[in-house]
Structures are given as C-alpha cells and as structure tokens.
C-alpha cells in the first residue's frame, strides 16, 4: 500500500526538496511503519521525526486528516491505501 507524507518547508531539504514523499508499506500500514519505511530513502528525515528509539519527538505533530495521531493510536494508528500524513511542528518555543 502507498501512503503520502506531506512535509513542512523546513523538513524538505531532508527529502531532496520534495513537498510530499510517497512511501510503500507492506501489509497493514501504520504511522510507525511509514516512519520505519522512511529510514531507507530518507534517514535524515526520519531522525527528525522520531528519536533514537523510534518515539515521536515531543514537538512533532502528525495529522491524519484533521486528527493528530496522538489522539488516535499514535504510532500504531492504522492507515489505508492512499492516506496522506501531514507533518507540522507544534507552536512552541521562545
């Protein structure tokens, strides 16, 4: 199955400048599996979304439609073929 990940401007340099990357995931896709798949082609992008142990960084928000995946099942949130994940930094910091 194929899922898209839409990136904010600041992260596009870590995906060759692309606004949207397409990720192929075998089996039942989840947000976590999509991130794991990013490791292959875009490891520098993956590192900025999750920490060394694969946990979503505190100020990184991932939206599926209008829902923050933290309000769903976080990295275990199931996805469907053709879904798009939107990455947005949280409004934080001074």
């Amino acid at each position: 199955m194929s899922v898209a990940v839409k990136l904010p401007t600041v992260l596009r340099p870590f995906a060759g400048g692309a606004e949207r990357v397409q990720v192929e995931v075998a089996g039942e896709p989840t947000v976590g599996k999509v991130f794991a798949a990013l490791e292959v082609e875009h490891p520098a992008l993956r590192r900025r979304l999750t920490d060394d142990q694969g946990a979503l960084r505190r100020h990184v928000n991932v939206f599926l439609g209008n829902d923050n995946v933290r309000d769903l099942n976080a990295l275990d949130t199931p996805l469907s073929d053709g879904d798009e994940l939107l990455i947005l930094p949280s409004v934080a910091g001074g």
């Binding site: 520098a44 590192r47 900025r48 060394d52 142990q53 930094p89 949280s90 910091g93």
Partner: protein, 363 residues
Amino acid sequence: MSETVLLIGTKKGLWIGRSDSERREWRLNGPSFEMQGVYSVGIDTRGERPRLFAGGTSEHWGPAVFHSDDLGQTWDEPPEGSIGFPAGADASMERVWQIQPAPENQPGVVYAGAQPSSLWKSTDGGVRFELVSALWDHPHRKDWGAGFGGQAIHTVLPHPTDSQRMSVAMSTGGVYQTTDGGDSWKPANHGIKAYFMPDPDPEFGQCVHKLAGHPAVPERLFAQNHHGVYRSDDGGAIWKSIADGLPSDFGFPIVVHPHEPETVYVFPLVADGNRIPTDAKCRVYRSRDAGSTWEALTNGLPEVPSYAPVLRDALCVDQADQAGVYVGTRDGCVYASADGGDSWVEVARHLPDVLTVRAAVLG
C-alpha cells in the same frame, strides 16, 4: 598573516567571527542553524584543512552534529546522523554538550560529551561517533543526577600525551577518569564539596561545572564547581580549594592559558541562588600563580552594570603566541582579548544568549 576564527554558539544559531592575527577587528557571519541551540562547537586544526564542528539542538527536530571543511560555508552530516544511541539502548540523544578533538598523538580521534551523560568517540575525524560503553554501563550511572541544565557530560579532557588516560566531568556526578583507554572508569572527586547532598564529601555526585588543564603540566587540573574552585596537583586524586581571593566561588567556566600553565581564568557569579556577575560587573578573573592570587580584568569590558552570566563553555583561549581570550555572555555579547586578558574589545552585541565560544589561529 595568519587568520583567527571564532565560533559563537547561541541559543538561536551559530555565528562565525574572523580576524587577522591582531584580533582587534572582527567580521561576523551568521546565523547558521537558525532556531537551533548550538550548545557545542569545535575546531580541529590537526589536519591539512581546519574542520569546524557544531552540535545543534532543534526543539522540534532534535539534536545533530555537523562538520564543515570550508570554514562554515557549508555543513555536512551523514544521512543516518553522526551520533545516536543504538536501538534498544533505552535512551535517546538529547543534546551534545561537548565536541573535543583529541591531542596530536591520536589523529582522527574526536570525542563528544552528551546528555544523557555519555561519552562518545569518533575515529573518522568526527563524522561518526560511537558510544564509550564502559562509562555508559558504569554501576554509578543510575545514581547520577541532573543539574538544572540536564544530566550531561560537559567536559572531555583527554590527557595531552597518554592516549589511555582521560578525565570527564558531568553535572551532576562529578569527575570520572580512565587509565586504560576508556575500558574502565573511576570517580576522582576527593576534596570537592557537594553541599547540596547529605554527605558533603561523597565519592561521586558532585556538581562540577568545568575542568581545565595544561598540556605541559598534565598532572595539574583545575575545576570550577557548583560553589568551589579547585586545583589538583596529582592528576585528580586530591582537590584543594583555590577560591580565596575571588569575590565568589560560584561560576561555570574555567580555562587555562595556552602557554602559561599557571595562568587560569574564571567568571565568578554571586551564588547558586543569585546567578549574576559579582558586583554586577562583567569581569573575567585571572590568576597567574595557579590560583593563589586573583585579579579582576576590566580594561575594555563594560563599565555599566551587567546581570548576564557566562556559561560553562562561553570562555575560551586561542593558541596564538600572544594568547587570545574570549568570553560570551547570556545577554548576547562577546568580548575578545588579544593580550591574555589585559585589554578587551567588543566582538558582538545583541546576539541571542551565548552558549559557547571557541577560537583558533589558522595557518
């Protein structure tokens, strides 16, 4: 004519200053790494070309260590990252506090100190770092505490000639040393007070803020503690106070002159509970007798009241024959001395909070 480069890491990016050998007038470029806290920088002058390092932390996207071989015009890092805990380590990199090229006798070796308290070693010039597992696996680690800034190894002090020996310091935890190339580590805090603990003389747990030493006198070490300024004349086995003559024993940085092993610099703050410069003056203090007596350096430093502290890595020296000294403040000012601290010029003002400065003479 030689050139001098000055790296200024701030809460919101990196600035690079360049000057000639006179070091009176500076050209600043920046910022790079905007919105990243640049907590560690380094300059490796051992190779054919100088290599610069920057350890940045984005509040959103996490930490990373970058290197540059063109004096900061471009920066690189491996796609998989320079430094990070392996999967299953039960820890993730939070911040890189220190990037320390090894002495000349260890070509290609660069060390890093990080949060959570961990030591890292690179053998490829600082491109990729590996965890020094013996220190990470130390039985004391579960009892290491966290200072206000976090639990981190913030000082990495390789022995100048013996590659098997090294000192590190952490907040909180104190000083640890190896004599077998990092395979085993022992605390070395005898004499350093820990007034904030039930036993003020613990084996470890001290809040050492910074260590310094001179290559010509490797058995002598200096420490600025969380209250307490100390010297050891036996490689860290015993520490004795050298705070008499200072207006306060609290502060963060301590630095040794590059050519005068008895000359040492600190920046005193009033106290733990009042972290502003003593007398509300931006003053570096210098001792020329290894801490027996101290003098305030004032010529060229601001006369107006100053309430900005200097952090543990925001005081440094270069290696010029007539040594340069540099200090960066939390109100975004940087001052440089081209004469060992006798007189100072302003390099920058109104930068973000200065976290670290490092300088080197090139060519």
